[in-house]
Amino acid sequence: MITAALISGLGLGSMYALLALGFHITYAVSRTVNFAQGSAMMVGAVIGYTLCITWGWPWLAAATVTLCLCALYGLLIERVLVRPFHRRGSEAWLIATVAGGILVDNIVLFTFGKEPRRFTLSLAEVRYDLFGTGVEALQLIIPLVAALLVAALLLARRYTRLGKVLDATVQNPAAARLMGVDVNRVVAVAFAVSTVFAGIAGLLIAPLISVHSDMGTLFGLKAFAVAILGGITSAGGVVVAGLLFGVVEALIIVHAGSAFTQIISFGLVILVLAVKPDGLFGRTAAVKV
């Protein structure tokens, strides 16, 4: 029973973590978040389905094009829904990204269709027996992909020029600008990376569930809760919080029953935040006076 809960929880937790990482990246670089993350996840799944199932493209080619389009979606969100408001010191980007997500969800509803569709993938059909529990190969691959992406992000930040530029912008945007860093471009790249992560989550989760226009809504909300829980300024923190949230959710269902899942899991989130307002791994930003 515990094995089933752990496998199920780790798979879900990895999805939350990927989306929450998107929130972390944009917040770290620009102190803004993209509330259309859930929508970006859905866009990834829908484009992937269209290319792979409807048009019959090979999965790899479909995934590559999907992620490129997700990156474009992120750039568009930053340019149209965030930058104009942020530049003027307005917080309206918050509602603009929410509205943008709803707009895209509805456009997809009318173009992709009203009914959920099945994204068949051979990896989702391969099953193993693990400690007496049936597991699909994709369920094991999802946490691995999430771990690889986190590692890649951390390494890129440490060893690549783009990563150093990103870190410089995180630490002091004004100083970075004086050193010749194009801060606007760095922020745009951060948004593109965040929607690519969401797109990957969409492509991975689609074969396990069904593809439809509002599939990202609840994921987006939970991922934001995870980002806050882990400490939105800490990449490792949001990943750990994502996995923790997924596993705790599954364990609550197994031990206390499904009727209490939301009450207990979100109750725990509130409790943790009451004790550690900056999240499990977040740090209070030092303010010079």
Binding site: M1, A4, A5, I7, S8, G11, L12, M15, L109, K114, E115, P116, R117, R118, R127, D129, T133, G134, V135, E136, Q139, I205, L208, I209, S210, H212, S213, D214, M215, T217, L218, F219, A250, I253, V254, G257, S258, A259
Partner: protein
């Protein structure tokens, strides 16, 4: 027109001229008024009788809204071709509730208050219907459920109850599902897996009552959300508790997740389900094991070669050219319930002789006999019974490919 008397005329002549002028104007006014009244009456006689539909026309349950619309449309076409009701044609006005109770309630109010519809038809979602019913009882307009099966929709405790239904009712469905599971699968340790909303709650009561009357205890009652990705934890609890049959209540997407999760676990257990899987592409979503879910229906297009079924199917094909086979009219319950309900409403309006809500309500009680698609209705409604269908009208089905096929017993 001269309105001022001429300065050259003597006083009495002026008075006379004024009086004649006033008379002319008055008579013209009376004529104009009579003409406009006549025109209004004539226009009202030609004006269509509006009926409203509040259902999910978008989102995951959109296919149910499409089925209801088709059933109502074909029935309206037949009624209008036969001269309409009270000499007037019927017109359908549809509103999308997006499966959201607040939106459904607003839409029903708008249809009644602004569009002056005579009757409001409901859709798939019990929570939406439960939101509309109190308004129907308060504003005194007939609400006709054609899909949502929640028991409290018609059994709502109102002194003057305006909610009627041509569909299944949870309490009776649960009774039928439990009996089916006993007959077909020798169920002794049932486990419930219910959607976490008022529909699931309504069925929990129904199942508990049906099981208690047979001295059977459920191994567990688990709940799932519509957006749940993985139901393995809930199913694991039920399996560990020794469940030998699953009693399932959920819409298409979560029902498909149950089948997928069972596949993942490698657990082969009989599934006896309410009719949620019928509301969309369950065959596609659940995969190769979709046929293992046995679910209840009120109607299937088994025979499209003869009888009423053939007539209605031909009318559907003529009206909606995209319909080629019976697989294109799944779920048939939406079409059939709506089709019969529209004809019953038309009879009620004829009985009432007006579009007054309370009169139509009494008109529904006065229907004596109607040969419908699902069955021949004999006094379908009475003050004690607002549900036109009962357990004898239920059939058990499963998916074979994309088609819903009756299970012969």
């Amino acid at each position: 027109m001269q309105t001022t008397p001429s300065a050259h005329l003597p006083g009495n002549v002026t008075v006379l001229a004024l009086t004649v002028g006033s008379w002319r104007r008055a008579s013209r006014g009376v004529l104009l008024l009579a003409a406009s009244l006549f025109s209004i009456v004539a226009h009202a006689q030609d004006e269509p009788i509006k009926v409203g539909l509040v259902a999910a026309l978008s989102g995951q349950s959109a296919k149910s809204g499409e089925a209801i619309t088709r059933g109502l449309t074909v029935a309206i076409d037949e009624i209008n071709a036969a001269g309409g009701v009270l000499g007037r044609p019927i017109e359908l006005l549809s509103r999308d509730d997006e499966s959201n109770p607040s939106k459904g309630l607003l839409a029903a109010r708008e249809l009644v208050q602004r569009e002056r519809v005579a009757v409001v038809f409901g859709g798939l979602d019990t929570p939406v219907s439960l939101a509309i019913v109190p308004a129907a009882n308060q504003m005194r307009f007939p609400f006709m459920g054609v899909w949502a099966a929640g028991t409290p929709i018609t059994r709502n405790g109102a002194e003057e109850n305006y909610a009627f239904r041509v569909s299944a009712m949870d309490e009776l469905v649960d009774e039928a599902l439990v009996q089916y599971a006993l007959d077909e699968f020798d169920m002794s340790r049932p486990g419930m897996l219910l959607i976490n909303n008022p529909w699931g709650e309504s069925n929990e009561k129904g199942f508990t009552k049906a099981l208690a009357s047979r001295s059977i205890e459920a191994t567990g009652i688990e709940r799932m959300e519509g957006a749940d990705v993985d139901v393995v934890p809930q199913l694991t609890r039920l399996r560990e508790a020794g469940t030998d049959t699953l009693l399932l209540v959920a819409n298409v997407a979560p029902s498909a997740q149950v089948v997928k999760s069972l596949d993942r676990m490698g657990w082969e257990v009989p599934i006896v389900s309410h009719w949620g899987p019928a509301g969309g592409r369950f065959g596609e979503l659940a995969g190769s094991n979709a046929d293992k879910v046995h679910f209840i229906q009120t109607y299937t297009f088994d025979d499209i070669e003869s009888g009423k079924g053939a007539e209605v199917f031909a009318a559907l094909q003529a009206r909606f050219p995209e319909i080629e086979t019976t697989a294109d009219v799944t779920p048939a319950v939406g079409v059939a319930n709506a089709y019969d309900a529209m004809h019953l409403v038309a009879l009620a309006i004829e009985n009432a002789g007006s579009l007054d809500g309370p009169a139509i309500r009494l008109g529904l009680y006065d229907i004596e006999r109607h040969e419908g698609l699902i069955k021949t209705y004999e006094t379908p409604f009475s003050p004690e019974e607002h549900d036109a269908l009962g357990p004898d009208d239920y059939v058990f089905t499963h998916f074979v490919g994309d088609e819903i096929v009756r299970i012969e017993r």
